[in-house]
Assembly symmetry: C2
Homo-oligomer: 461 residues x 2
């Protein structure tokens, strides 16, 4: 373990320099959603490329129809596995600007945190892996295994260019790896690091219920026609039964029951329902009967309405039967459920539930399957050791309710395992004003990553 | 009947002059909803006052905190009943201006119609009664009974000032009458005049369902909390049962069953469901089980949603659990139902149907009771004769699904009967671009009104 000792010592000495490198990256306003920041987005790509080159990696800027992809790799190490670090250099818009205590693109240290847009999502977390590679190069002259980097610039707006690149024939070879490493999520709780081994999928739709060809006076016509807003309400109400179970035909056919070992593990996390409800400002939690809150959030499919609109939304009372009523809805999926199947099930449900006098249009907006990896894999074991050393606590194994479609795409295309190692905290404000990253967690992340290459290299390639 | 013959002859000769008077009034842009038209509103009041004074009536401009009320009266005729004509000189906004074929305040004759904002609603219809009084004065020197006029300037925005005036102690005496005459509605069909003897009431509410204190990420939180948009949908869906019956507790307690004579009468109108559905652009009509379309529209209470809003309504898919979901809803009421009682019933229903984890706020926006008058009254008989002569067809007795709260207020305050005599047509576009009034119907209305004073005078006062 002497090489790890030397590396740890190097990391300790390099902390001021690492923080400076992060600040430099955070000063670049790389907002991918807003064309006004186009220069900043490119500048951030170049900065990441430079840092990777300085770390001694072979680098390449892959041009696309959007922001470039930053690719880098260390030399192959025969007999050792190959890792691919995925991350992104673009950030969320900083709005609403008025709510920031210090400017979003002027990194500011307060109470052990570094405040700036992108601090945790994902510049800070992504940089931990870049700097760990730099540490190996500085101390040991080379990494103990081949590590590749693919850092994109459109994650916050849908990863369109990276997805297109993934579909290209050369992508499979260039990105070939045994495990994809991603740090773009969070710890389970402050001081309790986690490894996320599952993500939910999603199937997202827009519904349009149409009735009369124009709005009608509800006095003269009320009682004559089916009101599309009533028809929509009745339809949406019929999707969930009294127990919170989704009523689409065949919806649960491919849903595997939870493993008892997972339930036991999560039960040991002693999730506090009452505190959670208080945090969210609700008097009670609610969801599918028979499952704990964590089970419902992480590993059970759910239905949600994201938007509703119909008729008159202004001041006072307008007396119309609206011609149209619409909703945005989605189903979160668990692994083995396919968004395409759910789309068919929804259409079937619509067909059998469309009442007299309305027409229903279903628009399939987007979807992606869920991901789950084997929590008993040697990669997970390697990550556990690294994190335990760096954070002083064994990480818990959790799943996440959210969906990262690109993760499923990479897993499928590259036939690789996935390690989701989140260094962030729930209150980091990833998409909110005053985004932050705990500076100690930044250093711990670099150390965990540095140790990770050592432990992964011990796994048979 | 020689006096009616002389009057008819006078009316015949006066047609060009009457049309000119209407055009003059229509040129005044008296839009009550828009402060920019304040001068026009006052100018219209003065023009109506002038026309009434020219007709030889005693006139008075009653100032209010808004547009003035125009009051006029002919001398009392002992032993004869007293009528009060109610109408309004204000008009709807002309928007959208681009859809008018000729400017809204430049009356234009085409195909036997006069096009202008206010042509039918209500300048044209109201003027028929003013001009009938003028005819009596010109031909017979005096009206055969006392006729009063109360023409207001805020009908299109809620009649606030007139309602306030009605509540004043002197109003009962000033407006004292046996029957209120209103022409602000329509014929049953082209060539089929109607007397409306019933209007529905209304109870209008806004509902706000609140869940978490802010929008939540539906990936991380989906399955944990009650989604307010789902809770709202389920609540709205529960208001109507499968037969279209309203489920508020006690809602039907004060609803009288329809009289067999009414059902027979309306059945004889041979309302064409299929043609109606086609007109509205729906594949089928729908409403409370066991009632015909006319019965449902005119004489049964109904529930409608007028507006829905929650969460994200923009392009694409945003994955949130919205913090709030809202709706505008109303119940149309039949006579004997009170809006206040319905408000209590709704609150009760909310209290017993609020699910876990959401808060519900009910805002009572406005309400007014329905009105129904005895279709066998001598006033109705007098109107029937007059209309039969003027239109060449016996009027049908109908009810209207809409609500005119001020009518119920006058009926209650003045303890008078009400005659709703509509000269308009369904396609007059009362609140739409290219509003029109059929010129022949304008003349027929004046003649019917002229005869009405004769026949009403024969009813014991």
């Amino acid at each position: 373990m002497s090489e790890l000792n030397a590396l740890d010592q190097y990391l300790q000495q390099s902390q001021p320099n690492h923080l400076e490198l992060l600040k430099r990256l955070l000063r670049i306003p790389s907002v991918s959603a807003d064309p006004a920041y186009k220069d900043g987005v490119r500048q951030a790509a170049i900065a990441v490329l430079d840092t990777l080159a300085t770390a001694g990696l072979e680098t390449e800027l892959i041009e696309t129809d959007g922001p470039p992809l930053v690719f880098a790799q260390s030399p192959p190490v025969p007999g050792k596995p190959v890792a691919l670090v995925y991350g992104h250099y673009d950030v969320q818009p900083p709005d609403p600007l008025g709510l920031w205590k210090t400017p979003p693109f002027e990194p500011s240290e307060r109470n052990g945190n570094l405040y700036a847009r992108g601090a945790t999502d994902d510049k800070g977390q992504m940089l931990t892996h870049v700097l760990s590679a730099a540490a190996w190069k500085a101390v040991e002259q080379q990494l103990p295994m081949q590590v590749k980097f693919l850092i994109e610039g459109e994650e916050e707006v849908g990863s369109e260019q990276f997805e297109a690149f993934l579909a290209r024939p050369e992508a499979a070879e260039k990105l070939a790896c045994d495990v994809v490493v991603i740090s773009d999520s969070g710890q389970y709780a402050p001081g309790q690091p986690a490894i996320t081994y599952g993500l939910r999928g999603i199937a997202y739709f827009e519904l349009h219920f149409s009735g009369p060809k124009q709005d009608l006076h509800s006095g003269s016509f009320g009682g004559a026609v089916n009101n599309p807003a009533i028809a929509l309400s009745k339809f949406l109400a019929s999707i969930l039964d009294e127990d919170g179970r989704i009523q689409l035909p065949g919806f649960y056919d491919s849903v595997k029951p939870l493993e008892q070992s997972e339930r036991t593990l999560w039960n040991e996390l002693r999730f506090d329902d009452e505190q959670f409800a208080q945090q969210l400002g609700v008097s009670a939690l609610l969801g599918e009967k028979g499952y704990s809150t964590l089970e419902r959030r992480w590993a059970r499919p759910t239905f949600d309405i994201h938007g509703l609109w119909s008729g008159y939304q202004g001041e006072g009372g307008k007396t119309i039967i609206p011609a149209k009523a619409s909703a945005k809805i989605s189903f979160r999926l668990v692994p083995d459920q396919s968004p395409q199947e759910v789309a068919l099930q929804l259409q079937q449900f619509v067909d059998s539930h469309t009442p007299a006098g309305v027409r229903v249009e279903v628009i399939d907006l987007h979807g992606g399957p869920g991901v789950v990896v084997d929590p008993h894999s040697p990669f997970i074991a390697a990550a556990q050791s690294s994190i335990q050393t760096a954070f002083g606590t064994a990480p818990v194994l959790i799943r996440e309710g959210g969906s990262i479609p690109i993760v499923a795409a990479m897993k499928d295309k590259l036939e690789a395992d996935v390690l989701l190692l989140g260094w962030g905290l729930d209150d980091d404000g990833a998409h909110s004003p005053n985004e932050k990253f705990k500076i100690a967690d930044f250093y711990r992340g670099i150390r965990a990553s540095t140790h990770l290459w050592h432990h992964l290299a011990e796994v048979a390639g």
